[in-house]
Amino acid sequence: MCSERRRGGGGVRRALGAAALGALACTQPTAPGEAPGYDPTTLTAGRVYHWPLGADVAVYVAPGMDDGALRAAFTHAAAAWTASLRYRELRLRVVATPAEADVVLGYLGDAYPVALDVCRGIAIPAAFTLLCPQGDSAATLPLRAGGGGRVKIAIVVQRDAVGQPGQLEAVVTHELGHALGIGGHSTAAGDVMYTDPHAARPSARDAATLRYVLHQPAAVRL
């Protein structure tokens, strides 16, 4: 047993030696493996996709004439998801132009900065997330302003569908969950990844699902 120590009779040297050996003989600190709260691949035909572990994901939030509500919702969602990680697997940062972005977030409309007719996305009534697999990676979504860019994921919010208080935060947090690697929907209404999200932040099941999926081998690498 790790906690047992040889006692008595041996003096300081033997006691300290036994303590050191006892500590060294113990197993390493371990944490249990993560089990998903729900299947994170129901919308991707069983294929796992995510960013490389340790990646610094750049997000461009398109201005939406909404007094910064969309950007505030993203800040809330990014903090909520990154707080649910255990090993700083991903970091999210906001960039100033779509050309620098890995992910673009904006309202549906003419001003959306990337082309959205490339493939079909993962949709809920109020928003959708566009990711276009191309072999074992994802296609770069073309910028409407021209130039190459590096956008792999577009999150599109329908402005008229997020009018209720707190709904924008819930929808953006939901879509960001897709952008980070959850390619499925929860059937529990309390989860932010529920089809009609109302939760403002990821539940324990959502967090466990993201942690699980990030440590699975990616069939589609972003």
Binding site: R13, A15, L16, A23, G33, L53, Y87
Partner: protein, 210 residues
């Protein structure tokens, strides 16, 4: 007699019994006031100060069921040791150390970094001169690990942890002021959630008597 002087007088009396001496030193953890000692004992009571510089290699801090492993990079460590005159070949000592290391994570083929860890140690122990050029050391104490709060296992308890250490000092000449030091330190970490386990830290470096 002040409280500190009384404690140090107790330490002097206890020096005949190494276990008691270690316990008192761990509580005292500071050089005894020389003025409180009798003149004959004053010379023996002056502690010798050594500066320490080393590099540390640490065993994994955490391995999880999905195969993620948290380690520390090679860490520079600096410190100081107060060595007190003892009886015979026994030399009580108090050591304080500070090290800084990057946090390295690995999961399958993926490797990434996640901030830095500051580790501070306070140890009380003794050295035994086994040979004019060789001193074996053992100590007990506490270690503090302060790392990124969003990375396990640093997100769990931030309290000091008990630690034990054993090591050896090697000198080229009997009166050499510089010595090569090799130490093995062990402590336990308890991730939450998870199962506690032992961590081994090996330090190799030099000490220099001032």
């Amino acid at each position: 007699m002040t409280q500190g002087a009384a404690a140090c007088a107790a330490a002097t009396r206890a020096a005949r019994r190494p276990v008691a001496a270690l316990a008192v030193l761990a509580l005292c953890a500071w050089p005894c006031p020389v003025a409180a000692q009798p003149a004959a004992a004053r010379h023996d009571a002056v502690p010798t100060v050594s500066l320490l510089g080393a590099v540390a290699v640490t065993s994994p801090l955490l391995t999880d069921g999905n195969g993620t492993r948290v380690r520390l990079a090679l860490a520079p460590v600096v410190g100081a040791r107060l060595r007190f005159a003892g009886r015979g070949s026994l030399e009580p000592a108090v050591t304080a150390r500070l090290g800084r290391a990057g946090v390295r994570l690995r999961a399958g083929e993926a490797r990434w970094s996640a901030g830095r860890v500051l580790q501070a140690d306070l140890l009380a122990g003794a050295g035994w001169r086994l040979h004019p050029l060789v001193t074996a050391r053992a100590a007990i104490g506490v270690t503090w690990l302060r790392g990124p709060h969003d990375v396990a296992p640093f997100d769990a308890s931030r309290h000091p942890r008990p630690t034990v250490q054993a090591g050896v000092s090697l000198r080229r000449r009997e009166r050499a002021r510089t010595a090569l030091e090799v130490d093995a330190q062990a402590f336990r970490l308890a991730p939450d959630p998870g199962r506690a386990g032992g961590v081994l830290r090996v330090l190799v470096g030099l000490s220099r008597v001032l």
